[in-house]
């Protein structure tokens, strides 16, 4: 079943065409990772999908319905920004339930508790962001993105500012959430390794606004850190590097 459909989306800023006739289909429980050099429109694209900016042409559809200018769709797509962007004045628990307050939805205590448990933040509920490590802050940001139980989670270079070990842990966390919650996600990254590890499909954006899609299939092999040492993993990496 298709969860998300992006159809003929284009966007330009002044005379600069950033996105040109872009199409994407995301199936339930699948992941698409977008890679590309700086300035190829990766962030613009995920902001269009998240409803933060409007496309010049084209449409974004969720479960067969267009969500352009549709406020009822608010919360159906979760958004995780580049930096954790937590409110310093709020404790972890309050930061996680913030989207519920913004969307004026009933604060289900069990949902918030579940998100905190899923992201392994138990015991940190009463901490302020400044008391957490960067990796923990990013976990809070992930929990916040998931609290409205979205159909799709959109992540804009979420692990760019964390160290390699924390990044690896967060990648595994995301794959665990994908499996546990049957989560569909779209992620933007600069890291080819991260892209191959997380994606079912990779979209490589080019400077001229064109793009290519690659299916990632490791067969029955599970996505563990060991996968990164396999021949197929290296082949996928080389293929994408050549496309960039």
């Amino acid at each position: 079943m298709n969860v998300l459909e992006v159809t003929n989306v284009s966007k330009s800023f002044v005379d600069n065409q950033v996105i040109n006739d872009f199409n994407l289909t995301l199936k339930a429980g699948k992941s698409t990772v977008i890679v590309g050099k700086s300035g190829t429109g990766k962030t613009t694209l995920v902001k269009i999908i998240s409803g933060i900016i409007k496309p010049d042409t084209g449409a974004v559809g969720l479960l067969g319905k267009s969500i352009n200018n549709n406020s009822t769709a608010a919360g159906s797509i979760g958004y995780v920004p580049q930096s954790p962007s937590l409110l310093q004045s709020m404790k972890v628990r309050e930061n996680v339930l913030l989207p519920l307050k913004i969307a004026s939805k009933h604060v289900d205590v069990s949902t918030v508790a579940q998100m905190i448990r899923l992201l392994r933040l138990e015991g940190f509920e009463g901490y302020y962001p400044y008391q957490l490590s960067r990796g923990q802050q990013q976990r809070v940001s992930l929990a916040r993105g998931l609290v409205l139980n979205p159909k799709v989670l959109v992540l804009d270079e979420p692990f760019a500012s964390v160290d390699e070990i924390a990044k690896e842990e967060l990648n595994l966390e995301l794959l665990r959430l994908k499996a546990t919650l049957k989560l569909s996600f779209i992620l933007v990254t600069h890291s080819i390794e991260e892209a191959v590890f997380l994606a079912d499909e990779i979209i490589v954006l080019s400077d001229d606004g064109s793009y290519k899609k690659i299916k990632i299939d490791f067969g029955k092999k599970s996505r563990t850190v060991e996968l990164k040492n396999t021949k197929k993993f290296f082949e996928y990496q080389s293929m994408i590097r050549r496309m960039l």
């Binding site: 902001k47 913030l98 989207p99 400044y130």
Partner: protein
């Protein structure tokens, strides 16, 4: 060299005692020297600390009553200043047009020597009335609060602003749910500047004749040639300001530890 916490207090007390003794000796000697030379002794305008303490004890209840008037006026002025600052920030956040006009206008008003307009304000509100003094106190205290909270409102993380847009939040909702929370720490921090400013406003207003208040006491003691009372009154204000600063810092650590 690091000192134990208790040692800090002993150290400060020793410095105060040393300063007290030094001031006593220097002022007494300078006054004696001036008398011998046939000049005006320094003690006429700079009394010895012991005389100031004596004046404080002698006028204890009178000073406390005046302090109450000054603090009451400055507290009301501060509260109104905070309310004004929050209201302007709220409207400026909701309306970009208002923001474009109000922000430069407020900065321009703050550039005015407001204290210089004190006589005019007292004339407008009527001599002996609390309103003029409270208004002056409000004018001096709102600006540091406004600058601090409007900075906090504008510097909310970009990511959370994007989430609000994605969730279709109105500007009103954005202010109430997101910005108000970020404003809390800034509001408390701004009191470090706004509280002394409100006390200055009230004191200057009282100079111009209100019957009661520390400002009025300073003026009267000056006319009566009682410098020790004037110093006792001003020292009381300094102590109150330091005490308030200590309380604000404690409150900040308790309520807004991230600030």
């Amino acid at each position: 060299m690091t000192l134990h916490k208790g040692m800090h207090i002993v150290f400060i007390v020793l410095i105060l005692i040393a300063g007290f003794v030094a001031a006593e000796v220097i002022i007494a000697n300078l006054s004696l020297h001036a008398l011998k030379q046939g000049a005006t002794p320094i003690e006429v305008f700079l009394p010895k600390p012991s005389s100031v303490i004596g004046a404080y004890i002698e006028n204890f209840s009178h000073l406390n009553e005046d302090l109450f008037y000054t603090l009451y006026r400055s507290m009301v002025g501060l509260a109104l200043g905070a309310l004004l600052a929050i209201s302007i920030s709220f409207v400026a956040f909701l309306s970009t047009s208002f923001d474009r006009v109000a922000t430069p206008a407020l900065q321009a008003i703050n550039a005015f020597p407001i204290v210089g307009f004190a006589p005019l304000l007292i004339l407008i509100f009527g001599q002996g009335s609390d309103s003029g003094i409270i208004f002056l106190s409000m004018l001096l205290s709102y600006f540091p609060i406004y600058v601090s909270i409007s900075h906090a409102i504008r510097n909310t993380p970009k990511g959370i602003q994007e989430i609000a847009i994605a969730l279709g939040a109105s500007k009103y909702k954005d202010f109430i749910v997101i910005r108000m929370s970020e404003m809390k720490g800034a509001l408390i921090s701004s009191l470090r500047l706004a509280f002394p400013a409100s006390v200055i406003g009230a004191t200057v207003g009282e100079w111009l004749g209100t019957g009661r208040g520390i400002g009025q006491l300073v003026t009267v003691s000056l006319y009566r040639f009682e410098p020790e009372i004037m110093y006792a009154a001003l020292s009381t204000l300094i102590i109150v300001n330091l005490l308030a600063l200590w309380l604000i810092i404690r409150l900040e650590r308790k309520v807004a530890p991230w600030a």
